[in-house]
Symmetry: C2
Subunit: 360 residues, 2 copies
């Protein structure tokens, strides 16, 4: 964009200090610079801090109504209740809010947008708010969108392998703390509860996770939604339906936290309305601009979270025809939950709006 900065849209980044906010600042510093002023906003506690964005030190402002004066677009990464309160305040001042919380995702007047899948939805925003999907859902949307366009998705059975950073910086810190306790100990992981006891002894039980994560997997993420379902599992179902525009898509998800710092992985059993050829599906994924196919397991090539973290694309591998389900493909997907799963998608949506506002 050759427009001088003064003529470009003003962006507010609300929640600039958190795990996602930190990645957002990094992304804003490396992508094509479509923004004029960038204001960094956080809670009163962080106000006055200096944080870097686009190579410049910027003073963090406390969240207030006035902070949105002259702002065109605001990216929010704050807890649901903060978004619920403040996104409408910003929108009432004419700011287009791109919100990464769960507060508005299922609101019929708020579009839920993945630029590679449903960019057109971003233009219809009666409340002035666009929602960014949950990171677990987002991990598979680019790949499934590419397959759905061609073969029409009808059913999804998903099991997740979710990273600690899905619970933000406290989740990252807790996993590192727990690994520091068990790393080098060869007497744990062998009797029921010994990992729990070792960690509890050193760190106490105040954790973002409902069980130890080191040397363990935790089959529960989010809050209790009744009938045995977690909020995370219902988000995968409801948000997939909304983003893909398939209101009757059959979805069943099991969400499990694993001891990985960042990058969610999903084992996806995807059923289509039409016969799917694996070679054609692979080609459709290879052609999807935001998907990288890594799929030669005999040669050690498959996606893993530790090999995908910090990168923008969705990595897809283990693509195969389900043997007993003729219209079903199996695939394993890895995506950085702080980037495409949160900050990157939010930035992409904000850039869509910036281009719309400037007619670019």
């Amino acid at each position: 964009m050759s427009t001088p900065r003064a003529q470009r849209p003003t962006l507010a980044l609300v929640g600039a200090t958190g795990a996602v906010g930190t990645v957002m600042r990094s992304i804003l510093s490396t992508r094509e610079d479509v923004w004029g002023e960038i204001r960094l906003v956080a809670s009163a506690r962080s106000a006055g801090k200096q944080l870097e964005v686009r190579g410049e030190q910027v003073t963090v402002l406390a969240l207030s109504e006035e902070v949105f004066d002259g702002v065109d677009v605001a990216m929010f990464d704050v807890p649901d209740e903060v978004s619920a309160q403040w996104a409408p305040v910003a929108a009432a001042k004419g700011v287009v809010v791109v919100d990464n919380s769960g507060a508005f995702r299922m609101d019929p007047d708020v579009p839920l947008v993945v630029p590679e899948v449903n960019p057109e939805a971003a233009r219809e925003r009666p409340r002035g708010i666009i929602a960014n999907p949950n990171c677990t859902t987002l991990t598979m949307m680019d790949a499934l969108g590419a397959l759905h366009r061609r073969w029409t998705l009808t059913e999804l059975v998903v099991a997740s392998y979710q990273a600690a950073s899905g619970a933000g910086q406290p989740g990252i810190d807790r996993l590192y703390d727990e690994l520091e306790v068990v790393g080098g100990r060869r007497d744990v992981g062998v009797q029921a509860g010994d990992v729990r006891a070792a960690i509890s002894d050193k760190l106490g039980d105040d954790s973002p996770f409902p069980a130890p994560l080191a040397l363990n997997v935790v089959p529960w993420a989010g809050s209790d939604k009744g009938d045995g379902w977690s909020s995370e599992e219902l988000k995968v179902r409801n948000e997939s339906r909304k983003i893909l525009g398939i209101p009757d898509l059959k979805v069943s998800a099991t969400c499990v936290r694993v001891p990985v710092v960042t990058t969610h992985s999903l084992a996806v059993h995807a059923t289509f309305a039409q016969d799917v050829d694996v070679a054609a599906a692979r080609q459709a994924l290879v052609e999807a601009p935001s998907v990288v196919v890594v799929d030669d397991p005999a040669a050690g090539e498959f996606p893993t979270p530790a090999d995908s973290v910090g990168a923008d694309p969705t990595f897809v591998g283990r693509l195969r025809q389900a043997l007993d389900f003729p219209r079903t493909l199996e695939l394993f997907v890895c995506g950085d939950n702080l980037r495409k799963g949160a900050a990157l998608n939010t930035a992409q949506v904000a850039e869509l709006v910036a281009r719309e506002l400037t007619g670019a």
Copy 2:
């Protein structure tokens, strides 16, 4: 059993020194003692070692034809090719072999037995060999057997969270080694490949796993079986069909290794021929003698591998009705892959045979 030891059947434990063999000796030392002499057998390299079983020091014998003289039952836990060679040698001498390798599992003349599911199959053994299922399959058999008896299983979609010890003692050692490298480091897990580089730097790349396991998950277990499938995934399909006696059971599995020492976990999407009521399913699982239901997630109660390791039962939780699949239940299952998944089931099958031989 009040019979004097001299009148009880003689047992040979072939592969007494490995990860499963060690658990077998522990199990033989704690279960009801149905055995007369117990011979410990291993490779020539381990011959002469003293190992403890039933509180007594026993000298390890080198594997040979003579070692089976006077033996009634042999439990084998050795690599496939060793079983393929030696199980028929033992059987030809009249020994009933209970084999934990993959060499005979799909042989139509070899029963594949889980005592809680198909104990009757153990009596028909034309080759004198009974096979013990793969540990991943075994993790869910007790629970699915209990549900299948009542509602008739038709489809399974499974994603696994498999422990390092599924690759034996070298797998356990590698995971501990890797955790020692990354434990305490907060600079890894943040950029693609940094975990791989840190581990490779300290430990080299000679690993039982095809990618780093610490701070990672590895969506590949076993060998390449073509069309994108791993041997582990096909075992889950083929062995589930054989054990449950459902030759046309539809199965699709994704097998993933996670950084857990011991205890496999499975997310199971199980579809039945009849409508299934969650409360009735829960009751059927509670009544299954080898299953423990741990299922109150809002109170932090769900099975995890670190809380299940070293215990005999299968732990089942996260039981719920799939929202969009009327005859499908979702459940999360944890079972110690060295105990029920290997040594315990082998011992249980051997005890079935001992009781048959002694008419007890």
